[in-house]
């Protein structure tokens, strides 16, 4: 079944994003990795919506897109603000962020 391949791709994308989050230490790259994860979610939802033939998944995709945009705006605002506070545009993650 061809739809299975979409799940595979999205699982790959999600794993790449997740591993990026765990390994990278740059706030912007971290954020990009999270966006990658959100897009893999979109792919899963779209593929599942195709499989089941219902509108639920497609509607879900729209909301994920919009929320991701809102998060991007808020996140970039926080990142930009932080770098102006630190007097540099160097985007290495601050000390506080060791978790």
């Amino acid at each position: 079944m061809a739809i299975g391949y979409y799940f595979i791709v999205s699982a790959l994308l999600f794993s790449i994003g997740l591993i990026g989050v765990l390994l990278r230490r740059n706030a912007i790259v971290l954020f990009m990795c999270i966006e990658l994860m959100l897009n893999s979610v979109n792919l899963t939802l779209a593929a599942a919506a195709r499989m089941w033939g219902g509108p639920d998944g497609q509607v879900f995709v729209f909301f994920v897109i919009v929320v991701a945009a809102a998060e991007a705006v808020v996140g970039l605002a926080l990142i930009v603000n932080l770098y102006f506070r630190r007097g540099t545009l160097d985007v290495d993650v601050p000390q506080l962020l060791r978790w």
């Binding site: 079944m1 299975g4 799940f7 595979i8 699982a11 790959l12 999600f14 794993s15 790449i16 591993i19 390994l23 497609q58 509607v59 729209f62 897109i65 919009v66 945009a69 809102a70 991007a72 705006v73 970039l76 605002a77 930009v80 102006f84 540099t88 545009l89 160097d90």
Partner: protein
Amino acid sequence: MLSEYLPVLLLFGLAVAFAVGSLVVSSLVGPRVPNPTKLAAYESGNIPLADVRNTRFSVKFYMVAMLFLIFDIEVVFIYPWAVVFRELGWFGLGQMALFIGILGVAFVYEIGRGGLEWD
């Protein structure tokens, strides 16, 4: 039905292994021959004029980009509405007017606070 998904689980493991593996292998095996040209920022073949990392950019660009992004993305809701516009009729039109009205308030606020003033 559910058993059809079992391979996906395996693929999860495979994906993780692949991603970790390629990172590890490239860091172990990959040759490291750094030279100034290779480390320089790529600017379409030109010789870089300044250190990109320390170049200040105007926050205004960011403001405009951000405001554009947030208003642009809202169109995603208008598009499906347009597809079923006739079926929804006046009800849909009213709801969409409400939606755009709320966005409009935000837009007025943005202008009122000087978010779009370029100076």
